[in-house]
């Protein structure tokens, strides 16, 4: 009795399996879609990146298909959750290339995940648009690898240019222990001299620290400091900002694009008043003047995203938007999904206006953004306003 039961249940599950297989192949045969592969940290520690990115891709693949697709072909999104794990990212990219046979890849929420798959996409010769920040992704230039987000080096330079304009040349750094913090701190130290900025104090804090008064007091007592830059991510910068006001440091405080959000002002309250940071235009979408060429792009993306998901738009989702749109533009220009042609088309993108800024790709620049992509913002009356 028991064995027959077991047998029928096995048979049933086999039937289900067969049916689902048929379903999948049926979909694939019906029409030749353009396959966009994605691997994103939808869950795990980097979910704040991967979640909006994944939602954005789903939303716009749907929208593009509803409008008739690309070159008369539908887009098909094949997305996997790499959970911030470089090993998983690698396996999923192999799967995208070997098993799903995608035409191009958009993804890689973190630098680690991106760098882990670079050898694979280079070997397989498939266009790959990364959504991660660090400079190492595009420097040195890798033939098949592109990226959409600004780099931390650009953020440093934007801040330093602003400091120069305010005649501040001796500064202190205070940064955390995370990947973002470390990478940006290193980049800032590298480009400081180019902007005639001298870093005379360099403090760090731990990942879970809840008080940075000690480090800030040290900075306060360092003779000659004219400004402080906090390349930081997560909760740390809000605490730094609060402590900064508590011990009454008078010189200007700069934060990074890592905390460029309304959330940061909510967390640090009145202390955020006067804090400056570089940020993408998305953060101040509605307050951009009508003459701003970027206004329509960011306002539309913001509206679409917020209407669909009922949650605040983030710059990270914007990177995915840019990635998908660049991919579509390249496929259109290449007139198909021939990988080499799509790659060449990506490299030839000029004057594309995305949520991150104007993109001008070239053989030596696979990101294509310049410093105008960042806006210098200042906390004023509980909101961000652009510094002119």
């Amino acid at each position: 009795m028991k064995t027959t039961q077991a047998k029928t249940s096995i048979k049933r599950s086999l039937a289900v399996l067969a049916a689902s297989c048929a379903l999948f192949t049926g979909q694939a045969v019906a029409q030749e879609p353009i396959k966009v592969g994605a691997f994103l940290s939808v869950t795990g520690g980097a979910a704040f990146l991967g979640d909006p990115e994944n939602k954005t891709l789903e939303l716009y693949v749907e929208k593009v298909n509803a409008a008739g697709g690309v070159l008369g072909r539908k887009l098909q999104l094949v997305s996997y959750d790499s959970a911030g794990d470089a090993e998983k990212a690698r396996t999923f990219v192999k799967r995208l290339i070997e098993q799903d046979k995608v035409d191009l890849i958009v993804g890689g929420s973190t630098t680690g995940e991106t760098m882990a798959v670079v050898p694979l996409v280079e070997a397989a010769q498939i266009p790959f648009i990364s959504l991660a920040g660090a400079v190492v992704i595009i420097e040195p230039v890798k033939k098949w690898v592109f990226k959409t987000p600004h780099t931390d080096r650009m953020a440093c330079e934007k801040v330093f240019v602003d400091m120069q304009a305010r005649k501040l040349s001796k500064i202190a750094l205070i940064s955390g222990a995370g990947g973002f913090d470390k990478s940006m701190r290193a980049e800032c130290l590298k480009v400081a001299a180019k902007h005639k900025i001298e870093v005379i104090a360099d403090e760090t804090y731990g990942a879970g620290d809840t008080d940075m008064t000690a480090q800030l007091t040290k900075i306060k007592n360092t003779a000659g400091v004219q400004a402080v830059l906090n390349p930081g991510f997560g909760q740390g910068p809000a605490i730094v900002t609060k402590n900064y006001r508590q011990i009454g440091i008078a010189f200007p405080l700069y934060q990074s694009h890592g905390v460029a959000s309304k959330e940061f002002i909510n967390l640090s309250g009145a202390a955020a008043e006067g804090v400056r940071l570089p940020a993408a235009a998305l953060l101040i979408a509605e307050s951009l003047p009508a003459s701003d060429p970027q206004r329509s792009v960011v306002v539309n993306y913001k509206k679409d995203y917020e209407a669909r998901f009922k949650s605040d738009v983030s710059t990270f989702g914007g990177h995915a938007y840019d990635g998908l749109m660049l991919a579509i533009e390249a496929v259109k220009k290449a007139g198909g999904t021939d990988k080499a042609k799509v790659r060449d088309a990506l490299e030839g993108v000029r004057g594309y206006m995305g949520t991150a800024g104007v993109v001008n790709m070239s053989a030596t620049d696979h990101m294509g953004l310049d410093l105008t992509a960042f806006r210098m913002l200042e906390g004023k009356g509980g909101n961000w306003t652009e510094v002119k």
Partner: protein
């Protein structure tokens, strides 16, 4: 002869060898090979960890630390200092063995929760050192690793790696099975049932525990080194606490005190996330349900529970066909 074949030391080993040899017929592209290699590497760690958890009855929540030390040791020596990968791997393995030996003695005096906490702490310290010493390790963003090479010959391609990892897994299993059947293995099992009892009959408990701790750390370190060279990139994710938990889960899932259970556990838990991607947003829920289901219905782990079930059935059939009972 037949009896010898049925014993795990020959029959089981032969079955595993046959599985490794026949598997490539099912692997149609390098993505499947990749999964098979990851299974193999995880299985090597689990076979070692199973000696510690399943046989000696000591828990370690820090084994990802040893795996990570192996990976980063190889990566740093070979990629940053240009050592030959084989020399880098051997040096790293020796260093990890020495570390395990040094910390093993004080740590393994602890029991139960305290031992779990101490090994957990060890794992976290290794993780923190690796994430903060970014000059050497590349910090949270990770580090590229040169491909494995012996002399002029560079090991590339999933197929080649498959055979290397397969052979090493076979070797690891053979080593573990022999150890278990040796006097040292019997001493370990005695320790597991009663440490006091074992000491009364003259077993040097501390020495045995440290020995098996070092062995399991070496297994993890070698697998870590190979994983680093194979994937060409290391990130602190592989050293993190969660990876330690994953390893322990593989051992428990497959069945404690069963070397083949460790292999099965590694195979199932490595491939399951790949199979479950069909469920999209519900992936983690299904994964949890599979784990819970297995633990409820096969409480001693997959391999021992199924083995017992088969045994009971055979006994049942034997008693029915035997008219005397």
């Amino acid at each position: 002869m037949l009896q010898r074949l049925a014993s795990p030391r020959t029959g089981g080993l032969l079955a595993l060898a046959a599985a490794i040899v026949l598997l490539p017929f099912l692997l149609s592209n390098s993505y499947f090979y990749d999964i098979a290699i990851l299974v193999g590497l995880n299985a090597i760690v689990c076979v070692g960890l199973n000696l510690l958890i399943g046989y000696a009855g000591q828990i370690s929540l820090g084994h990802a630390g040893f795996f990570g030390l192996g990976a980063y040791g190889s990566a740093i020596l070979a990629s940053r200092y240009g050592w030959p990968p084989l020399a880098a791997m051997l040096t790293t393995t020796l260093a990890v063995a020495a570390l395990a030996f040094l910390v093993g003695r004080p740590i393994l005096r602890l029991k139960g929760h305290y031992l779990a906490m101490a090994t957990l702490g060890l794992g976290i310290i290794i993780f923190m050192v690796i994430t903060t010493e970014d000059k050497f390790t590349g910090g949270p963003d990770g580090l590229s690793v040169v491909p494995f090479s012996i002399g002029e010959y560079t090991l590339r391609g999933e197929r080649l790696w498959y055979w290397i990892v397969g052979a090493l897994l076979l070797f690891a299993v053979w080593l573990a099975l022999n150890l278990i059947e040796s006097p040292a293995g019997r001493a370990l099992r005695a320790l597991h049932s009663s440490e006091v009892g074992a000491e009364v009959v003259g077993i040097d408990a501390a020495r045995q525990k440290v020995m098996v701790f070092v062995i399991s750390a070496v297994f993890a370190s070698v697998a870590g080194s190979l994983a680093a060279h194979y994937s060409g990139f290391v990130t602190p994710g592989k050293v993190a606490f969660f990876h330690s938990i994953e390893l322990v889960t593989m051992v428990v899932f497959g069945g404690m005190a069963s070397t083949f259970g460790a292999v099965v556990g590694a195979a199932v838990l490595t491939t399951l996330p790949q199979l479950l991607t069909v469920f999209k947003d519900y992936e983690m829920m299904v994964f949890g349900a599979v784990m819970m289901g297995t633990m409820i219905f096969l409480p001693r782990g997959v391999v021992p529970s199924l083995g017992r079930l088969l045994e009971l059935r055979r006994q049942g059939a034997a008693s029915r066909s035997d008219p005397r009972t």
